[in-house]
Symmetry: C2
Subunit: 209 residues, 2 copies
């Protein structure tokens, strides 16, 4: 049976941003601070390194019951025994990813246009990633921002769980939830901060205990 996931505070990793502290230590602190879902995103690493990182995070997160999703790469998710994947519109088509991962895996899908939202209504995706909510410097190929008004519009047309991502901070996270999102995903609000632990705690307070 598919897990019930708490998407309220969701970390997407960025290896370059994590710098000397590293992805694993950043994730450890983030989870201690209140992050409830982690997505490993690697756009530069070769497959061997990507798998090693995923295996390390599975070892850290599985004992704590925190789900780990892999960005894009179904093979890495399967090899490492991660809980699922997050896919975008230029990744593997949803139906193929679901077939390869099976019915119990978590599969999230980014939506960048209202057409994507409408198409996703017939899919049993676990959540939609509203991407980006605000303008962001982290993802250079991002689509135009949805804004809070976009989150409200998406909420009106779909029953899927919604996770906002892009330019989200402790300051604006409550607005994103009020607009209808079930959770917020962050990258630079945690990765690369002097204390990822403190940053996660501040975000945890912002989205509710």
């Amino acid at each position: 049976m598919r897990q019930q996931i708490d998407y309220s505070l969701y970390l997407v990793t960025d290896t370059a941003l994590c710098g000397d502290l590293g992805v694993v230590e950043t994730v450890r602190q983030a989870v201690e601070g209140g992050v409830r879902v982690v997505q490993l995103r690697e756009k530069e690493a070769d497959t061997r390194r990507f798998v090693e990182m995923a295996v390390a995070l599975v070892g850290l997160l599985k004992p704590q019951g925190i789900p780990l999703l892999i960005n894009d790469r179904v093979d890495v998710a399967l090899a490492a025994g991660a809980d699922g994947v997050h896919i975008g519109q230029s990744d593997m088509p949803y139906a193929m990813a679901r077939t390869l991962l099976g019915p119990d895996a978590i599969v999230g899908l980014s939506v960048e246009t209202m057409e994507h939202v409408t198409e996703a209504k017939r899919l049993d995706v676990d959540y939609l990633g509203i991407s980006p909510v605000f303008a962001t410097g982290t993802k250079t190929d991002a689509a135009p921002p949805w804004g809070l008004e976009g989150v409200r519009r998406i909420r009106l047309v779909t029953n899927h769980l919604l996770v906002g991502i892009g330019g989200i901070s402790a300051e604006n996270a409550p607005d994103v939830l009020l607009a209808g999102a079930d959770g917020v995903a962050v990258v630079s609000a945690i990765c690369g901060r002097p204390s990822p632990l403190d940053a996660a705690r501040a975000l945890r307070l912002a989205v509710g205990a």
Copy 2:
């Protein structure tokens, strides 16, 4: 049961080199000219495009009984229903790839040092890719060339099928086979040639009918 493969003439694709003719038409001509195995290698395309290319090649090659391998990406191989993968030393570890693909898939492994060859002796890989045999401009991160002497040395220490790759042409292909390889793989000797069909025919003659 695992297929018996004829590795005598093996094409590795290069999308940039194939240019306006395209990968699919290049592969079509190459197979008509005598290529017996095809590896789809995509280092730039996003996952969606990679899967689309793989699906197109499966549609072309399966009816002709020509095996299609996917470079590195087990997910793309599984999604497209390809015959297997070719992995390098920085790709997924062999045991993981074999587990995900199953016992009947074809899994080839690149060897760049004698240590790789020795390590591979205990693995049920389908073939070893001797990489590179000669200096090549196609793969910019290639290891130092093995040379014909390297092929001979590998032949003495392993029972695995051997496919040479790197700088191989119709002129030097017979020497690679004489040194102990079971087949030769080419990229630029076919991709980007004015007539991939004629180029494949010349290679076919060189390696034996």
